[in-house]
Each structure stands twice: as C-alpha cells, then as structure tokens.
C-alpha cells in the first residue's frame, strides 16, 4: 500500500492535542512556564537539527564508502587529500558540539535564574505534602488569620506566589506544568518555588515523585483569580464552618463530629479537631476532593465517604460504617461546607 502523505499528516494531528489544556508544559500560562517552554522548544529544535545532521553525515559516509571500493586494497594507508578533509570535518564537529553545549548550558542557566526572579511582594503559601494529599496554609501577619486548607491553591493573578514546600512523610514533588517546573518536597528540608499566574484560570498540578500506592492520584488544582476576588475568597476561608442549613445537614454535622471523622479531620467551629487528615472546614468550596480524584459534588462526596478504599485503594482514610441515612446526611453537610 502506498503511503498517502496527507493521510499521514492528518494521522499525526491528534498528537498535537496533548500540547494544550489545564496541565501542559507546552501551553504555558505564566512567565516561569513560558521560559521553561521556550527552553524545551529550543533544546528540541537544536538537538533535532544536530540529530538530522549526524544522520545525514552517517548516511553520506556509508554512501561514499559503498562508492569508493579502491580504498579497500590498502585501508591503512592515509591519502592526504581525503585525510585533511576528514580532519576538518572532525574538528568542525567537535567545535560545533562544544559551542552548542555551552550555549545550551548558558541558556539553561539563565532560564533557571529567571525562575526565581520576581517583581513585587510575593504571596507566601506553605505547601506540605502527605501521603496522598496536600496541606495548604496561607500565612498572615498574625497567626489567628492563618488559613489552613487542603488540595487546592488559589492565587491572585499577576502577583508572584512563593510556595514554601515541605513534606510530612516521604519525598513528594510539586508540579504545575502550566505555571512552573517541578520542585521536590523533601522531609526535613525546606524548598521554595516561585511562580506567577498571568491569566485567571484553573490549572491542574500533581505530585511528580513516586510516593507510594496512590502517587498517581495525588493531584491538586491551582486556581488563579483576580486580586479582589482572591481577597474575598481568603476572608471567606477564614470563617469557621458554615452552619447547617436544614435538618439533614444538622444530622450530618452530628455524624461528622460524633463518629470517627472527628478523630482525623478538623471542621473549625465544631468539636472536630483532628489534625492527621485534610482540613474540611470549607471542603464544599473546592473543585475536587480526595486530592483531585473526584469532583466536589454531593454524590461524589457520598461515594468517597462510603468507600474510600475502592476509589483510592491503600489510602489512609478507612471505610467508616454508616447507615444510608447517615451517609446521606453527612454528604449533604459536607457539600454545604462552602
């Protein structure tokens, strides 16, 4: 069958869809990711070019070899003309390699340095990685205005964000490809990652260092909002948990504070004050639950609470036995914790 060029080109098009979307290093939405993307394309282009040249040279050498069979009689005797040409090619290649590598190194160095440069007063956010969720703390000038949340980072547009990364158990790594490169979160070590979001939007991030059974489902959403909206969101997060709106939610609150939920989770304003699991005070206001595994809807909350081990097998949340009424009530309550 003869290769059809147009068909071949069309067949390659779907591959390009991997370049855009909320989690793509090739579709940068911030200056950090933009400089990294530029590096990616430059490296690809240059190395691609070098690769083509090398292939071409090998091809020519093989063709020439086939063509000149006279040299087979005395292969070790150098012929001065071709020898000088070969020398020239080799020296030229070495010099070109050194130049190219030096240039690429320099470009990489400059790009990396520009990642940490930022203008303006950065917003400091502490991100602590646990198996397999993220604890997000917004600091403030006095500790009673700190906000502790989980699995979602909201940032103001145009202002640099300084993430202080740490880990509570094993090595994790924070990677939001649309906005920045990877930075490891190593227990016992404090790392910093600075990035700026240029446009409002929702960007998906994930853990980029294998950290155990559910490494694949340890994702995070970074949402960039206009600065005034961000401030009002932060103020809303500072408030204690919303009061139940109806009887079902009140029953749900009784379940959440009386059963095993309170032993691991905090819902500020109630007697649930456990610290080993994510803070649930405003869980209804987040886009996803279980670290990016499910959307935040009442049904998904119910499914997660009913059987976390099927959704995310091996994670640290046990299957707490609840009756159907209790499950309905607690999922209503959680969905209402906006």
């Amino acid at each position: 069958m003869r290769p059809h060029p147009r068909l071949a080109a069309a067949a390659l098009l779907p591959l390009l869809t991997g370049c855009t979307g909320p989690q793509s290093a090739l579709d940068p939405q911030g200056p950090n990711a933009a400089s990294l993307a530029w590096l990616i394309w430059t490296f690809t282009a240059v190395c691609g070019l070098v690769w083509l040249l090398v292939l071409l040279t090998v091809g020519i050498a093989l063709w020439r070899r086939r063509a000149s069979s006279g040299a087979a009689d005395e292969p070790l005797r150098p012929e001065s003309a071709t020898e000088r040409r070969k020398q020239g090619v080799v020296i030229g290649a070495v010099v070109a390699t050194v130049l190219i590598i030096a240039t690429l190194t320099l470009m990489s160095f400059v790009a990396t340095r520009s990642l940490t440069a930022s203008s303006g007063e950065p917003l400091t956010v502490r991100l602590r990685g646990y198996q397999w969720w993220w604890e997000v703390t917004y600091t403030a000038d006095s500790p009673d205005r700190f906000v502790t949340a989980a699995n979602e980072i909201r940032v103001p547009v145009g202002r640099p964000v300084r993430l202080e990364l740490s880990s509570g158990d094993v090595i994790h790594s924070f990677w939001v490809p649309s906005l920045a490169g990877k930075q490891d979160m190593i227990p016992g070590r404090d790392n910093v990652l600075t990035f700026t979001a240029e446009r409002p939007g929702s960007y998906r991030a994930q853990c980029a260092e294998f950290c155990g059974m559910q490494h694949a489902r340890m994702a995070l959403v970074v949402i960039a909002m206009a600065a005034p909206e961000f401030e009002s969101w932060l103020d809303a997060q500072r408030q204690p948990a919303a009061e139940p709106a109806d009887e079902e939610q009140e029953a749900g609150r009784q379940v959440a504070t009386g059963k095993a939920c309170a032993a691991c989770h905090t819902i500020r304003g109630t007697r649930a004050a456990g610290t080993v699991g994510p803070d649930l005070t405003h869980v209804g206001s987040r886009q996803t639950i279980a670290a990016g595994t499910l959307p935040t809807t009442r049904g998904a909350l119910g499914a997660w609470i009913a059987d976390p081990q099927t959704v995310k097998p091996g994670n640290k949340m046990p299957m707490v036995p609840l009756s159907a009424d209790e499950l309905r009530a607690v999922s209503a309550y959680m969905a209402g914790l906006k």
Binding site: D169, A263, C264, P313, P321
Partner: protein
C-alpha cells in the same frame, strides 16, 4: 537443551516471587462480623470471631497490617500514655504483663470499649479493621519470639529494641521484677 534449562530456571524464579497479599478493603459484612467478638463475663479473654480464621489470621502474620497498626499507634495518641511501649501514666506494653489480657480478643475489647481504670474507648474513633490492625501491632511490641512478619522500620526516634529483632528474647533483656 540449553533453552529448556533456561526456561525451567525462569519458571522456578517466577514461582518464588509471591508478593504478600494486602487486603485494602474489607467487605462490610466481614467488617461487621469482625466486630462480633464474644468476650468472657469479665471482658478479659473470649472467643475470636470465626471470620478471622476464614480470612487466614490477617492481623498476625501480615506485614502491611502490622505497619498500619504501628502508624495508628502514633496517630491516635497512644504514645502519650504508653510511650513507645514503656508506659508512662498508662501501663507498659513491652513487659509481657497485661492487666486485661494479651490475647487478641482481650486487646480488641480493651481498645474498642476502654477499661475502667483510665483506658479511653476508641470504638467511636477507629473502625473495626483499624482496631484489629492495632491489636496485631501491639502483639509484636513486647514479643519474645520471632515471627515471619514484622512492622516496618521506625520513622520516629528509636527508643527500644525493634519489633523485628530475632532472636527476640536474647536482645530484649530481662523484664523488671515485679
């Protein structure tokens, strides 16, 4: 001939690779059945639930369950009263002397329902499976004979001989006289 030998060796090696089974999720009827212990009248000792045997004693010989028990021991504040097995305001768990019995049923009832001299009840704070995981771990803390399964290595400060020492009795030393 060589091919046959290689194939035979490969088959032998593959058969040796048996990974430990990890039961990450118990069916709710099994969980409910695990809660049905039949303690004696004084709540010390009693009949274990039949389903434990049917499951193959997963909380005694399964390293994953023992490690989860070890994690729960830290997470649920056991160290505040019992230290790392040495005891403080609560009794020691290291020395082989158990006020309310050391068999699995007694330990399960102790954890789930609490005891009258200060042990809080954890039945409303832990699930049945988590309590069994803790029971399995507690039975490795002061053990004096080696077993095939052990919890993972300490993430925290090592303050006493590890659970997976062998032979256990030789390194642990003599318990304090009573």
């Amino acid at each position: 001939m060589r091919a046959v030998a290689i194939a035979g060796l490969a088959a032998l090696l593959a058969a040796g690779c048996q990974r430990e089974e990890r039961d990450l999720r118990l069916d709710p009827p099994v969980t409910a059945a695990l809660d049905q212990v039949a303690p004696m009248a004084n709540a010390v000792g009693g009949a274990p639930p039949d389903v434990l045997g049917a499951l193959g004693e997963p909380y005694e010989g399964n390293a994953y369950n023992l490690s989860e028990g070890k994690r729960l021991y830290s997470w649920f504040n056991c160290k505040g009263c019992h230290a790392d097995g040495g005891g403080a305001s609560g009794p020691a768990l290291l020395d082989g002397w158990w006020r309310y019995g050391s068999d699995p049923v007694s330990l399960f009832v102790t954890l789930r329902d609490g005891r009258q001299n200060g042990m809080p009840a954890y039945g409303d704070k832990l699930t049945t499976e988590q309590i069994w995981q803790l029971v399995g771990y507690l039975r490795t803390v002061g053990v004096s004979s080696a077993s095939f399964a052990a919890p993972s290595r300490n993430d925290e400060m090592q303050s006493r001989p590890a659970e997976n020492r062998a032979p256990a009795s030789a390194e642990l030393g003599t318990p304090p006289s009573r």
